[in-house]
């Protein structure tokens, strides 16, 4: 992801994302309801209903990447929200109370729709935001799949999707359009297919595309999934990846090792990490995070299929499943080692990593390392400590 090696498509993405925020602002002006949603959320239902879905987590990631998470968080902290909370939530809450908006003003919700597959922080953040903005809040509740997916939880989710459809109908004053939903689901399928083909190119040796590129190019699959824009974008990116392959342009100059990385990156240090890995000839090739957007919907059973896709995500799975998933990725991408990020912000993904590290090492024989930091807040980032840990890990690779 070094500067000179940047993808041409990056320009297109910047345009697309600027457009996304502009559309949100415009929606507000034109009286189109803005619905806050969470990253792992059946957003297809909203696009089909003509609502504008807004991702405050994306706002949080942006604040992290622009190194202002601390600044926004401190505003939340003066109110009594502590810095132990998820940094995305702190940034969102901080921005609500702040006078200065270093990443632009978070768009005010007309309604808040939250799915808790990912974590328990989102519902609590959305509840607080619902009180602040005085907007109705709806929780799509997804109990953890502890063993295998079962009918009970699936039916519960489907029932709630129906409840949500009624809730949306009340807001829009129109009967729900299931034909439109089919179209949106097909667009989502296509964008996810393209996105995963791009991600898969990281398995080639040497590879034209890696995890840090994926972090950079993932915003549209999160926010624009279900629209033609996402499809156009990932088609362009896919073409560029193919073109690079033909020309022999690779993600890093001298790829010697492939690495698995868990999970969200340290946003304000994205370049620092990618350079550090590249300097050691190590390409991070996969992460369950960037690979989460791999939905495949059955248009004939839209609600059931939405329920399966969204509840069976790794974020809603337990200890053993997650270990196996990581190992599967490691095998598929033929990695030489793995790095697990114990992210202080994200307890559901950090808790368990110490044991998982041991189990994965035992099962695969691969070297691995766990480091502690925060995905957005540099107050919890010790460059020396992280560097020392990773250097030791790189030594084990060779």
């Amino acid at each position: 992801m070094s500067k000179k090696n940047a993808f041409k498509t990056t320009g297109l993405m910047k345009e697309l994302m600027a457009n996304y925020y502009a559309k949100g602002v415009e929606a507000k002006k034109n009286g189109i309801p803005v619905a806050w949603v969470t990253a792992v959320f059946p957003v297809e239902l909203l696009y089909a209903a003509g609502l504008f879905p807004y991702y405050p987590e994306n706002f949080g990631a942006m604040a992290g990447a622009r190194k202002v998470a601390n600044q926004l968080s401190e505003v939340a902290e003066t109110k009594g929200y502590f810095n132990d909370l998820c940094a995305y939530a702190r940034c969102g809450i901080g921005d609500a109370y702040a006078d200065e908006h270093p990443v632009g003003k978070i768009i005010k919700p007309d309604l808040l729709l939250c799915c808790n597959t990912q974590c328990g922080s989102l519902p609590k953040w959305f509840e607080a935001a619902g009180r602040f903005y005085n907007a109705p809040y709806f929780l799509l509740d997804s109990p953890q799949i502890v063993e295998q997916p079962d009918q009970l939880c699936k039916q519960y989710f489907v029932d709630q999707l129906k409840e949500m459809v009624s809730f949306i109908e009340e807001i829009t004053g129109k009967p729900y359009d299931y034909d439109r939903l089919s179209e949106v689901l097909a667009l989502s399928n296509e964008a996810c297919r393209l996105w995963n083909e791009i991600l898969d190119s990281a398995a080639l040796k040497p590879a034209p595309f890696g995890f840090f590129d994926a972090c950079f190019h993932m915003a549209p699959i999160v926010t624009w999934r279900g629209t033609p824009e996402a499809v156009t974008y990932y088609r362009a990116l896919k073409d560029e990846v193919d073109e690079r392959l033909n020309k022999g342009v690779y993600a890093i100059p001298d790829e010697r090792y492939k690495i698995y990385f868990d999970h969200i990156p340290v946003w304000p240090k994205l370049r620092w990490f990618s350079d550090l890995f590249a300097n050691h000839g190590a390409l991070v090739v996969a992460s369950q995070y960037t690979h989460s957007w791999a939905y495949s919907f059955d248009l004939n059973r839209p609600l059931e299929s939405l329920a399966e896709n969204y509840t069976e995500q790794f974020v809603n799975r337990s200890f053993n499943y997650r270990i196996q998933l990581k190992i599967n990725f490691m095998e598929k991408y033929g990695v030489d080692g793995f790095v697990l990020f114990s992210n202080r912000s994200c307890k559901p993904n950090a808790f368990g990593l110490y044991d998982k590290h041991k189990v994965i090492s035992q099962k695969t024989g691969l070297p691995g390392v766990v480091f502690d930091a925060d995905m957005s807040d540099l107050r919890f980032f010790s460059e020396n400590q992280v560097k020392t840990r990773l250097e030791t890990f790189f030594e084990q690779l060779s």
């Binding site: 109110k79 009594g80 929200y81 502590f82 132990d84 909370l85 998820c86 939530a89 808790n116 974590c119 328990g120 922080s121 519902p123 609590k124 953040w125 509840e127 607080a128 009180r131 809040y137 929780l139 509740d141 109990p143 953890q144 502890v146 009970l152 939880c153 039916q155 519960y156 029932d159 709630q160 409840e163 337990s318 200890f319 053993n320 114990s342 202080r344 307890k347 559901p348 950090a350 808790f351 368990g352 110490y354 044991d355 189990v359 502690d372």
Partner: protein, 380 residues
């Protein structure tokens, strides 16, 4: 027995609870199923013939947890897990973890990996309770859990068994509520500290033994507590997840405060309502859960927590509110600002205290409680 003897019996039992349970196990030959926090349907575990044992955290041994769980996990879960790692929960035959937050959700797999037990289950309670889907799902989840308990015991659990357990638990809650109201009327007769010690005892004692002693205590208290001393006391509400450390109640006692309500998992919230004794018992358990006092793990749309708290405070004529929060308890932290604001609006002073199992400084705690009590008491 007289009041003081009964109270010491309960205090000794909670101080020495490992020994108490081990002895119970030896004499009865029964099985003990542990649980975390208090939303787990104990009635169902009891109906299966097992003794539901509430794990309440501890003050020592947390460093053992570091290899498994980050030190920014809450100390209730860390110190409860520490007990298991130290071998101090070896009397357990099983464990049920209710998934109420990310920490409980994730520790379940870690616990099972590090200290497996013959029966390990999650209680996947719904985290929205306002829509019809929640009840249907919860009845299904209770049925699933019942199935797991049946597998473990080897026979079916009958509705009759569940109904009997529900009555037993109801009678226990009634006794504790009776003592709670005696405490409200006459805190000198049963102090804050002793009242909450009784509720803690309820988590770690078989109901049959517990109820027997509680009945004696109610009789003794009714004799001892003829007059009312409540008028001279400052009325307080405590809001938080669990009461920790118990010493805070001593400080409130010393400063002339009486706790008249709470939304704590091991306080009033644990005993406040009964389970319906008619109709389908699993449906009754589901309705009970759905209508419980809101807590941080889920705020309800129809009865938001801050409204509940404000209502409780005005109903109980509380003069002050203490937010007793465990460090790193995220769900409490998300609610704090708005709850605090809700009390500001009605001019009830609040104090937030952050504590940690095994990490609270008692001197500081005592000073802060005392200062707050002087401030609140001064306003009467």
């Amino acid at each position: 027995m007289i009041t003081s003897q009964l109270i010491s019996y309960f205090n000794e039992t909670i101080n020495d609870h490992d020994r108490f349970v081990e002895q119970w196990k030896r004499t009865s030959g029964g099985k003990v199923i542990g649980f975390l926090l208090t939303d787990v349907p104990e009635e169902l575990i009891h109906a299966a013939g097992f003794f539901p044992y509430g794990i309440c955290g501890s003050n020592v041994g947390q460093e053992r947890v570091d290899a498994h769980l980050q030190n920014w996990a809450c100390s209730l879960v860390r110190s409860s897990f520490a007990l298991a790692l130290q071998g101090r929960l070896d009397f357990l035959d099983g464990l049920i973890i209710p998934q109420t937050c990310d920490t409980t959700r994730m520790v379940s797999g870690i616990w099972k990996h590090a200290r497996p037990l013959p029966l390990m289950e999650n209680y996947l309670l719904p985290r929205q309770v306002d829509r019809p889907s929640a009840r249907t799902y919860l009845v299904g989840e209770l049925t699933r859990l019942k199935g797991r308990l049946e597998n473990y015991r080897g026979t079916v659990i009958t509705n009759d068994e569940i109904s009997k357990s529900i009555s037993l638990y109801n009678s226990n809650r009634k006794l504790l509520r009776r003592i709670f109201s005696l405490h409200e009327q006459n805190p000198e007769c049963i102090s804050n500290r002793n009242l909450y010690a009784l509720i803690r005892a309820a988590l770690i004692m078989p109901r049959e033994i517990l109820n027997d002693h509680l009945r004696q205590l109610v009789d003794a208290l009714q004799q001892d507590c003829q007059s009312s001393s409540a008028a001279a006391q400052t009325r307080l509400i405590i809001s938080g997840s669990v009461i920790e450390p118990l010493e805070i109640l001593d400080y409130i006692d010393q400063a002339g405060g009486v706790v008249v309500g709470d939304d704590l998992q091991n306080g009033w919230r644990y005993i406040e309502a009964d389970v319906r004794e008619s109709g389908d018992p699993l449906e009754a358990l589901a309705d009970y859960q759905i209508n419980r006092i809101p807590f941080a793990a889920y705020d309800t749309v129809s009865n938001p927590r801050r409204h509940f708290l404000v209502h409780l405070a005005s109903q109980k004529q509380a003069q002050g509110v203490i937010f007793l929060h465990l460090k790193y308890c995220e769900t409490e932290n998300y609610d704090y600002y708005d709850n605090m604001q809700a009390f500001n609006k009605i001019s009830i002073p609040t104090l937030r205290i952050e504590t940690e199992f095994g990490g609270s400084s008692m001197g500081q705690l005592s000073t802060r409680v005392q200062a707050f009590m002087e401030m609140v008491g001064g306003e009467v």
